[in-house]
Amino acid sequence: MSLRRYAVRRLGLGVLQVLAVATLVFLLVRALPGDAAVALAGDNPDPRRIEEIRVAMGLDQPALERWWAWLSGLPRLDLGVSLISGRPVSEFLLDGLGPTAALAVLTLVLLVPVSVLVGVLAALREGGVLDRVLTAISVGLHSIPEFALAIVLIALFGVQLRWLPPTAVGAGGNLLAHPEVLVLPLVVLLARPICSISRLVRAGMIDALASDHVRHARRLGIGVTRIRFAHALPNALAPAVQQVARTTDWLLGGVIVVEAVFVIPGLGTALVDAVAGRDLPVVQGLAVVFAVTTVLVNLLADLAAFRLAPRSAGLA
């Protein structure tokens, strides 16, 4: 099968996946107790007023009709308007995209070089002090959940030592203009993926250094540095590439927690608020964005794997 046919088939599947996610989200939000009118009324739940709000929001229309209206807007990229504020859902997405994208992209940009460096260093000193120290730190950090790490870092560096801002409060949407507020969130987001990917690089590098072709290259008298980085490293990276794609999926979840702890007004915060407010159009819009991102990232990773090793990409 050609690469193009494979890509088209996967894209078609991706569209179906996104629609399935959006439908599931619609059903799940409906399964939650209460609706947007109840959530808005809050501690003043006068049934007469809730009924009035319901009518004003159009919640008295049949669910199927509302679902169809939302779905038919999708091809025009019309995601509808928020039930509660009346603002277009696309505005919510644009508002939240900046901070979340800044976090995710910076995480990925830093993740690859740092974890390769750590993995290679550990592999070159296999069994040595450096290797054991790096291994101990990696395994230790990997076993701490993000929110626990965040709490400790905030308490220590944000509140006690005051080296870094404990939250992003007041930074507004443009986090890049205040790089200091990004340090702690990035450390939290990077900690676990660096550990898992550097472990993979280390293992791959040790295997590669012991492989026949590297031994052969050594016999041919090629320099040590060239052997390590031109011959051993590329082989060591193969398993790590797939792990980076999986990390991107994980980041979407991690970002929600990190945004909540550090008060970053991104897509994760928007999602949490929208679910609490039962603002169905906003929840659906965000779910579509998350689903599209996941599908695209995995598609790209699979295409890369297909290029590298067509046989192992599962195309039978």
């Binding site: 107790p33 501690d43 504020s85 603002r87 939240g96 404990p166 927690v257 608020d273 039962r278």
Partner: protein
Amino acid sequence: MTLTRRGFLGLTAGLSAVTLTGCATDAPAPAAAGPRGGGRLRAAFAGGGAKEVLDPHLANLFVEAARSKAVFDKLADLGQDVSAQPRLAEKWEPSADLLRWRITLREAVFHNGKPVRAQDVLASYARILDPQRTFRAKSSLSLIDLPNSRAVDDRTVEFALTRPFVEFPNALAAFGTYIVPEGTEDFTAPIGSGPFRFESFAPGKSVLLKRNADYWEGAPHLDELEFVIANEESARANALLGGQVEYAHDLTPTTARANTGSDRMTLHRSPNSAVQSFAMKVDRAPFDDPDLREALFLLADRPQLVEAVLGGSGQVGNDLFGKGYEHYADDIPQRGRDLDRAKFLIRKAGAEGLTVRLDTSTAAAGMVEAATVFADQAKGSGLTIEVVTGNKDSYWSDTLKNGSLSSFRSGAMPIETHIAQRLLSDSGTNVTKWARPEFDALYRKAVSTVDETERAAAYREMQGSLHAQGGYLMWGFADWIVGTSPNVGGVATAPANTLDWARFDRVWLG
């Protein structure tokens, strides 16, 4: 114990505090001796994310209420004893039959330089009362007969009411009854008559306001006021400790206790702010039996609840709303725990061995903790209380209809408003299902008589019957806790949603 995400986040503040105790040796530096002008104060509130709005009539959250009162004015607002005090209204004069009220407006101007006129007041109220819309204040103003109300002149309004109502100023002070310029529908750059002018707004992030030098009550001390959003309480506390904000609204007793004596945080506690309660539904089994209601009253160990749930930042309640407020019946003796009599009453009601479900949720701070402590206090009484934690987003609506026993809390409002909204046969949010014609009649008498003595007697009688037979077990009053940096001065301690709460025109930076 299971730890939720929220629970873990809550740990942040605790941990921060623990690491801080080492350096918190000195007493906090006092705020500058006298008011000083200038500076920008950043205030952190919980928000509703991007759904927040600047339309003051849509205000629902604390941050929206605080912003609204900075930009707009109401005709009246609630004073220290939660009675209505004149604001934009200079004075009010009812007719003898209490059906017509003449309001004289203060000389005030909107931020665009135009005067506040009687027409603006009528237009604002007409907007709130629009039958096509769902503003929160609609029910508070619903007794106004708008077609028969009129502007006598630019500074005099005459309201016609559909029934005699001596507490009409409470309606003028009700949540969300702000005066906006006539014809305003677009609030993207709101214009009000309040102490601060609008500068900029990013939904879910911040609102920036500037000093209004022409404010009728005198210009604020601050040059700028910025509201920022931090939903988690721990994040608000951390932002304050980290110097990112100067004012952190609504802190928990745990944070307050951990930071007492800190040199980075000054605590402001406003007593009698939020009533903490359990609501028994009197129209259904098992609490349709007054003996069982009394048994529950007697099972509650109130000092222990206040200590365990409010961390000592509160006072015990006597099953009546509004301690310290106007009309509060403070001559009724304080109830205490009496396990023996409670056991006897449970046996008498035939409820021995019965398991009652207590619905609660994290919709308000301390409710789940209080339910757990109370269930513990009921052990050994013959009655078993089973705590069930429900969904927080629909909690108030769920417990209004379902179940027989639930956690309840309420912010400050006049006792009259509490009764009107919750304790009359036709009340919209009657959680305890207290519906008694003779009680309704007493309320009508209290609000329709000009005779002070007669009115006081009616309030006393209503509270007497609620204390003896009612469905609210009001065990405590929580302090409202605000944290500021030590250089902030002029922060008044007042219950949330009253005049002096979040009153940033009186605050200064030292």
